[in-house]
């Protein structure tokens, strides 16, 4: 049984709204039922998160330092943005005690991105009808599952319909880096990744076809997840 909690820092920001779920392995005092309240994290949930946060509960305010743990776990389930490690650094929790905190993001920015993608899909359906093209159901099903439900980007990709009927999402930046994912159905993704590993050097290129989770591992290994979560 997991208790719902809230996490916020001292910096007022509505950039990210988050609720924390205290996991089964959390500190016993944190694992008690904790009062829910709105949450603000001032920084994106990226590896740089180290600043102290407060967890409000019926038992007081708990100061915790949250260390990045595994943002990619968001793609293992439909609800979790990531698993972070919260280390108690003040009363009433014993300093140094650790708790695993799963954070579920309710982020207006992400909702806007999701709505933008859905709007684009609607436009593509209209354009496909106008152009006598077909959107493959398997491709759209995978696109919706993987992009909208599992990846949940906070940056909208360019979404295109290919001549073969598949949907493609592309995140890119001004330096030429990109993550291009063509959804081919049955979990298969055709990927085209360009990454700048060194300044002023040719972009590293990686292309191929893999299952979705393996493709995302390639994205992460090339450091390109920052294009999706800016």
């Amino acid at each position: 049984m997991q208790d719902r909690a809230s996490v916020f820092d001292d910096t007022t920001s509505d950039a990210i709204q988050a609720n924390a779920l205290l996991g089964q392995r959390s500190h016993p005092r944190l694992a008690r039922r904790i009062e829910a309240r709105p949450v603000c994290l001032s920084a994106p949930l990226l590896p740089s998160i180290t600043s102290p946060y407060h967890i409000h509960s019926a038992h007081g305010i708990h100061r915790v330092g949250i260390e990045y743990f595994d943002i990619w776990s968001q793609w293992q389930g439909l609800e979790n943005i990531g698993v972070v490690r919260a280390v108690a650094i003040g009363d009433p929790i014993e300093p140094g005690q650790a708790a695993l905190v799963r954070i579920v993001v309710r982020e207006p920015e992400r909702d806007i991105v999701k709505q933008s993608i859905l709007s684009r899909l609607k436009d593509l359906h209209a354009a496909a009808a106008d152009e006598d093209m077909t959107i493959h159901l398997d491709s759209e099903r995978d696109f919706r599952l993987y992009v909208l439900e599992q990846m949940r980007p906070n940056r909208k990709p360019a979404v295109t319909l290919l001549e073969n009927g598949n949907l493609r999402a592309l995140w890119s930046d001004a330096s030429g880096q990109q993550v291009g994912l063509q959804f081919r159905g049955d979990g298969w993704v055709q990927y085209v990744l360009f990454a700048r590993t060194m300044p002023d050097q040719t972009l590293a290129t990686s292309v191929g076809r893999k299952m979705f989770n393996a493709t995302l591992e390639s994205v992460r290994q090339m450091g390109l997840h920052r294009l999706i979560y800016t």
């Binding site: 684009r120 106008d130 290919l162 001549e163 493609r168 592309l170 063509q182 085209v192 972009l203």
Partner: protein, 155 residues
Amino acid sequence: MTRISLPDADHILRHVKPTAFDEGRVQGAAFGWMPKQPGDGISVNWIEHADGANQDDKIAFIRARRRRDWKKSHKLAVLNIGRVRADVRQRMEALGLALSPDVVHDPLKSTDKFPADPTHALISGIPNNDSPEAEAVFDTLAACVENHVPALPEA
């Protein structure tokens, strides 16, 4: 038939459907193609070879000779030939593809339905299948787009 390579300094035009245009940019999907005959390539138009005093006139010349249905929602992407040649070649080397990309003149003769099109050209020597490598080349071409204009004139 030997086709002549077009000058690096000149420009080509590629027709783009709305399904291949998003985020204010022409996307790689605009360059997907299937060969109709040996030696085929991506169909484009050589802007500088069109009649007209300025780019608008030249595009109007090309527009009048189109052989496909262009709509108000469509775009025309403008690409520099030298950059296409250099960037695609570099990408294909990175991908280990043993092909020789080029931009060549391919004027079309008149038919019963269409007038001759002296501006027609091809981006040749590039992969034409549904492979990841081909998709990487199409993305490279999209990155070469300098600007875009409406396929049909504004009302």
